[in-house]
Symmetry: D2
Subunit: 318 residues, 4 copies
């Protein structure tokens, strides 16, 4: 009997959007939507369940008991406060670090072999905390990282160059936040290097890079300013990663991981190209970075490490 179960922890805006995306895209056979509040889990799960007879063919059940998560192939963690407008992702850290450590403890108990995907922010520091708090191997834990940032960039570049986004190959790495950056040096359109592609109008490549880097970083904030939070986009990112795990796709995603030693950036978690499959992070691909890009990566790692260290004494670690 082959039946793939995916659980979502937290039934707030993001968690319910993740569960809904899993159902509408049939990313697995069964979804368990967990929330400490049974009422909240029921409200959202039942609302989503109404879609099933009309558009989809799968099960979704609410739960307020971690035991129901047993057997999950993947668990998406969405709990924790989301940033208020103007608040940076790192500001949230204090409140969310303890929650994540405690959720990991529960998951280690009920589904020690599941791949855990963190969506809560600040996602990179929380991924690091989850890795340190959990008894499961680090390759089973990853953050949604810059998956969304890269997707936005490919979409924009594709529109500018009038080419399908799937033929635009460029990665956004580093912190999911202000220090993220596209790896322009390895960008290609099809198998043609970006610098060999004719650009539209009179834009120079330098201008283009600048504008896009800024636009991508700003997009999340623009949505925040308008709707107070983001949900649908990050839900799609999570659903896409889940599918790669459930189908053992071995597709490359920029997810938040503990970097391979070769990058020389220490013990933080940040987004780097990783092969995602049934075992979570199957392995990392080693990107060749220009000197400037390596400096940007070092900077991103420092920002994240400082945020992490600012937690000391808060009792979360230990």
């Amino acid at each position: 009997m082959t039946s793939s179960i995916v659980s979502v922890v937290g039934a707030g805006h993001v968690g319910s959007a993740v569960a809904n995306a899993l159902v509408l895209r049939r990313a697995c056979d069964r979804v368990v939507l967990f929330d400490r509040s049974a009422e909240r889990a029921e409200g959202e799960a039942w609302d989503i369940a109404d879609a099933v007879p009309l558009l989809a063919e799968m099960d979704i059940t609410p739960s307020a008991d971690y035991a129901d998560l047993a057997g999950s192939e993947a668990v998406v963690i969405t709990v924790g406060a989301t940033p208020a407008p103007g608040q940076s992702r790192l500001d949230l850290l204090g409140s969310n670090a303890g929650i994540i450590a405690s959720v990991m403890g529960e998951l280690d108990r009920v589904c020690p072999e599941a791949v855990v995907i963190l969506v809560s922010n600040p996602v990179d520091v929380l991924t690091r905390i989850a890795i340190e708090a959990s008894t499961r191997p680090a390759h089973l834990i990853l953050g949604s990282g810059t998956v969304l940032d890269g997707a936005r960039l490919r979409q924009r570049l594709g529109e500018l160059l009038r080419v399908e986004k799937d033929d635009v190959h460029i990665y956004v790495i580093g912190e999911h936040g202000d220090s993220s950056f596209p790896v322009w040096s390895s960008a290609t359109v099809g198998a043609v290097r970006l610098e060999d592609c004719p650009l539209p109008g009179s834009t120079s490549l330098l201008q283009l890079k600048d504008e896009l880097t800024t636009a991508i970083r700003r997009r999340g904030r623009e949505i925040h300013e308008r709707k107070g939070y983001t949900s649908y986009g990050v839900a799609s990112a999570a659903a896409r990663i889940v599918r790669a795990v459930v189908r053992d796709e071995r597709r490359i995603f920029m997810v938040s991981v503990r970097p391979a030693e070769e990058y020389g950036v220490g013990d933080v978690a940040l987004s780097l190209p990783s092969v995602i499959g049934r075992a979570g992070v199957e392995r990392q691909l080693l990107l060749r970075l220009s000197d400037e890009e390596q400096q940007l990566l070092d900077h991103s790692a420092r920002v994240l490490d400082e945020a992490y260290r600012s937690l000391s004494g808060s009792g979360t670690k230990a």
Copy 2:
């Protein structure tokens, strides 16, 4: 050039969930999400747009200008207040009737040939008001009605009888609300009449009918009590109807329509089996009702007519 555009009016919980469902299920080629507030339309449309590079292949654009709705094949109206917990759908009528009449005026101007699908509540009275306010033919206007109620019932019955929901054929008709009812007399499982089907355990058919009728009516309220509104389910219902229009499916749905004369229930709008395609309500199927069922339908029509008449003097009509 074949490119199907569907517009959603209102970017609140329901409207944004409808737009998201249209995108995740690729129900059309392009979605326009309209709201009087450009900010709100942008916040939701941009959030949803982030899904496109990851899961889907289509466009979604925000708008605060009705002119952008030109060329739509279908328009889903989601504007208007949603009921507070405990508040009945009819209580909303006063506030929403005027809004709908004015939206219909705008749509008549910019997309007079589009199929208009109302989701706002109380959906049946608002559908009647939309039909009366609009210059377009009545067959181009319909309410989402009891599509969701029937879907829930088929799902539940299928689980009880251990048969796929798509093989359970039963309709819920009348008001989308407390006076709706399943047409038990014509229910079949596959081509087997429901009364010939073995029931599980020691349940009698009468008991079963009773329990399910109550459960279905109560479900919307249970979700409301828990999350304060419903969104994902009704969004799926709207997306399902949209697909039938865009693909000219001629599939039968229980949508809110002006009843065929043969039903003898006058000028109200309520849910009855209708063939849905490119022309909206292509035609109605005439259900053979038992005497009891005809009485229930008459009752439902009376309830709706009274609600409608309670508006008199409010200036909405005329």
Copy 3:
């Protein structure tokens, strides 16, 4: 690790079309295409495999060793001669009965828990032989039967009545051949009985039934006369049944089964409404037949029993 394997026995026209349909519709995770001739299995599997990088996401592997079928959730049997133009399905019986019995022996050895779906003709007699030859329980063995006949009828009726085929509920039962018949007495369109539906033009219902019954029976022969065999249609029927098994859908299909005692037609196998899921024939639904329909069923059973008995002394049974 959840990976659903489906095997196809025989890589001729029908077998390769079945494998191709399984791949293009992603009905499972992996397809094994078996043929006694490794060359033939390779030629077809490799040709189909070329589709994978372009349209699908799954594995297909050739095999000439029954051991490779271990772990299959379903096996589709397509081996045996196909009827030459003018030759009846029953004429094939002599040559195909022995082959099927021997294939069942191999399958009992390597995948005793798989659901076996027979497509080879004459499908009803071969299904009976497979049930008798095999050590697995009868519910794990079924023939594709009149699935295609019923699909054709729903499609035609839907076109005539201008309603989506999925809203036309009518079954074709009995022998997959000249004695099959639609169960008109229980036909509905949506929840409306067929006799209550307005017909197009001046056709009477009697005329309509007559014309359609003949057209459906004749369709297979018309294709045969033109292309010498059928492949794509029956492949879709097989792929549809496979999906119901792999996803444990519990959907109702008219497949060839050993009839429930209540039908009173003895030990033959013929098509009757059956709930198909992971356990193969989960159960049968009991159709209420008119007197005339019961006579047609009795006739169909007699035709099939005589064909079966004509095998005596051929050594196939024992």
Copy 4:
């Protein structure tokens, strides 16, 4: 009313497989399967049509009258002999050149704006002949070229490197035949250049390139030797290209086109990276080739030009 029509010319093994793939993958709304023999078109179209009620939702109709192709957005040409085992693709040229020129004449008459996709072999020379014979602009004519060769290579490389094929970016260009070659110099895995990827075991990159180049070229022949022709694979390639046209995807494919001047290879048609959308070949991407690769391309062009010139005096041209 948006309804996309795609026609297939020729209802042999390849043409019927193309029509079947278009239906099973719903690449468009309606398929017209044309053959000079009405009988053959009917046999195949009716067989495929049986899939529709079970797996798909679209129309397929047979035709022996070119007038039925009016309104097509794309036309796939599959007519002409297929090579016997051992026969080279170029050997077929004599017999197929005249057929193609005459088909183009018919298409210019009934659907002058359709994108024409050639599948018949030798595909490159026939594409050149089609471009010269037709009155439509060259960007509306293309050959399936090395789409399949590249797909095979990505699949193999992906398996070897244990990465999803969609993350392997490498092109096979030139003649669809013995002189085709992968553009190794621009190969990347994700955004990592192939030479920076760790290889499995002790294989050297040089060995790997050699083995794969040979394996890819040989694959078509291996299938031919086993089944006498290829059909499913090339049908998927055609269906994939059709989808890019119908959905205006602007995806990059290696299809047979008249090369951009910058390649300096004259008037032949051969496979080069091209952006495919509603307008057929929207434009070509200019690949940066190593010296060795440019020599291989020159060689490929010479082979094709000689084959074309060998036709002189045959009356096909002029």
